[in-house]
Symmetry: D2
Subunit: 289 residues, 4 copies
């Protein structure tokens, strides 16, 4: 193994750049050339590669987003699209691909591997933390701390008013981020995609809290498939509970930021260590083509 | 002048507690007793007072919100309501009131002063920064830094995608917060209550930016009278500009927080210094009843 | 099991209050009374207990430090001291103790358990993250993010000057915090208690970096047994390397703060779940006296 | 006026990049070419210039430090050095210089102007906030908020221990930063260069506080001419007051960071507006050569 490609795909997660950097440095140390593929699978299909050397990754470790950019590629979901992608792998003489992304990224990648025998390693990076078989994805810690920080700031002001606060966090199909930040922040209620919403029940529980002396409450809402839905929920809840409410929608605040999953680099290094060995010994965790 | 009341009214602003604390300490140093009035004018009408001594203000300097709580009081807008308020002033033997709040607070207070001869001093505290005759209100710096911080975080991730970002900040009738954070954060466009929205024009300018190589843009929106309106604006803009967009609504994040207008205390001290002198000399800036 | 005591001991860690709160709420839900012991083992010896109900823990989840306070107790290291502590346990009718702390806390506790048969459960909480058998202690994530944030801020300014920066983080006998924040922050060098310092070697490596174009470097230093030692190291290094240097000593910044180990509460809840069962069934993970 | 140079000099301050960006954009709008001079006066002497166009300033608004780098130049303090600097101005065909810096920068600049008739405008940028005739220098707000934030974090943990905390902030000859952050943070004591240190007196006042129930105290120390001096002060104070103490040295944390003086850009724009006019009308605030 002499040369690999690295790409970031799906929603960007803080720490992706740290992971790219770790890949390049591990490659440098192990004599493996690392090539960047721009804009995820879309760029792989179009053959958009760029060299990644020491200079390219300088001063990127703390940057949110991803220097390789990312995208969602409908074309990659077609057999034709993947054929073009495999062609890029061959023409760029890549012995394998390092995929940095979440569930969808790996799913797409595994089809590519099956159809065209492309060697792959995936590093889980997703603020949804919804990759099976890993405790923490790169980016989740930062996103959770961002959400938690917001809850804490709001708690400060909540006590000054008699009010209901909705904090909308990310999570299309996964309520993990809402769950963890909500529990850690002591939110009164959670609304997550995994459970259907029972406004009457939520209102009843909130009223109970008010009855025993609470003067304000925080509801953490996973955005689901409709960012901004908290405004509608707040409106609907008013039928059951007469209480002024306010909404915060964190959105991409959770993706940016300089804090990032603290162990992003060490995680990446561990994942990549086999690569280094395989490049010497010709064998290892990295599947041979 | 032996005894004054202090109240916080209107929207809470970070730094209000620091200001209350400064009032109490200045009072202690000058031999003036300071009494807290809870829940703004509503509490003044109901006679809800509480003693404010060294213990009451301990460890409050860094707290967001206000330990005296705040409210909006429709009753105070009636002559009857203000009569009750004046009664509280008399019964609690307050020689004057220190009002911590914004434009509306001072407007209401000035009527009370006119009608009932209540002696008043106002300390401007408003994240809208819309009090005439003062450069910076308590709380504005914190809110502006909060908004700016959000813009910076989003810029990080903006470059990873080709996207339009809307950051909705506070400001019902005033676009000051949007203006200052938008300029300081280098936002591409501003939407503020002082100007009518011309989506076609905004779209044209954004397209110009894309034409010269920008891959993403940030639009700062003052919430106006409809928090969450950015979602609608984003939707409407899609008619003019085909570009994926994302929305962040900062809401009460801007009110909470431990950072606060750095000079809150010194500001408050300066305002209150005359009080101290008047209590000694029987005269000063504080208008005598 | 009807009644337990909870105490925090050793250095405080962010998240301790969240953990106390989780203990109290789990107790309330499971019919176990929770009593607070103030000032760690010192308070246990002196019999300083306080009731912990729903009110006591309200609005504490996000506070740094510990509402129970903490201390280091030399007396507890004597047999006599521990005898007094056991007496408190008996007189306060505690069926067991929940210890929130680090290595030293558990070591001391285990002697108490052996000598006097006191039933114990320990929740690891230490920014040093040096408790054997656990991946992450409560407080470590916050401390690591604090250190990392500092490194990132300094990197910003580092590029403006040709300079060496020393960032001193906590860690008396453990370099874990320095290691994780240093790697995640891309520090050039680490100085940790587990390794002896070889200034000549460090200087040589830094010079190498300068030779290939770096204009500044960051060295993360664990404070070891002499907080402020970075100033001496910076001074000594000047013999080998002519380069202006600057020092930051984070100290207790790493302990305070509102961010905290995100999963503090869930962690605590899991630990405490057996307690709830045992209180019903009369058996479980909690060792019976 | 067709072409000007811009340089940053002295200690870097957050917001310098925002100011450079504002200068370039104002220049672009007014038909004035803006040339960057690297490394302050040192680079001016050596003739190190670089073009500053729209691309050069992209994505710099939120970066700490300065993209032009800065330095302290002993050579500029000699008549010879300044002669070389004036030569660069002439050879690069600069009609004037925009100086972004503090007191020392302007002092040096004014000699250059006198001796060689170089046209100058200075934008105050200094975290020390010690430029005469301006309320707030660029960078001061960020530095003050950084220091204040540190004080707040420490206060959190201070209450868990009986302890004295020293927070060392920047300020060689000026205690302004210590003063403002100390007052706003409610510090118990301040040690600033403008006053000689009276440890016995400080100890007496701290003891008084303890006597009335305080369990911890925060002392803000301006670093003066010996960064790290807080460790010595803490040591010396122990003779008067038996109390465990801890030290935090903020150092360059105060210079970095993304937050910055919110009005940096607007400030810069106002300063530069005359420039725009003068380029049209051939006259204005900018002194003609």
């Amino acid at each position: 193994m002499k040369r690999i490609g690295v790409l970031t795909s799906g929603g960007d997660a803080p720490g992706m750049n740290a992971c790219i950097r770790a890949a390049v440095r591990t490659g440098l140390a192990g004599g493996v050339e690392v090539v960047g593929v721009r804009r995820g699978y879309a760029g792989l299909i179009e053959g958009e590669t760029m060299p990644l050397d020491r200079t390219a990754i300088r001063n990127t470790i703390h940057l949110g987003g991803t220097i390789l950019e990312t995208s969602r590629s409908p074309e990659f979901q077609t057999r034709e699209g993947r054929a073009k992608a495999a062609e890029t792998v061959q023409q760029a003489e890549l012995d394998g691909l390092l995929l940095i992304g979440g569930d969808g990224t790996f799913h797409g990648g595994s089809i590519l591997a099956e159809e065209w025998g492309v060697a792959l390693i995936g590093v889980p990076a997703s603020i949804d933390n919804d990759v099976y078989g890993t405790d923490y994805c790169i980016g989740f810690d930062t996103a959770a701390n961002c959400a938690l920080n917001a809850i804490d700031r709001i708690r400060d002001t909540a006590r000054s008013h008699d009010r209901l606060f909705f904090v909308e966090v990310m999570g299309r199909e996964s309520g993990y981020l809402a769950l963890e930040s909500g529990i850690a922040g002591g939110a009164e209620e959670l609304i997550i995609p995994e459970e259907s919403i029972a406004l009457a029940k939520i209102a009843a529980r909130l009223e109970e809290g008010l009855a025993i002396g609470k003067k304000s409450a925080i509801v953490v809402v996973a955005e689901g498939d409709r960012p901004g839905r908290s405004f509608e929920i707040a409106e609907s809840l008013r039928e059951y509970l007469e209480f002024e409410s306010r909404v915060v929608v964190l959105g991409h605040l959770q993706r940016g930021g300089r804090l990032r999953y603290v162990t992003a680099c060490s995680a990446a290094s561990s994942v990549l260590r086999p690569l280094r060995h395989s490049s010497k010994a010709g064998a290892g965790a990295w599947p041979e083509r």
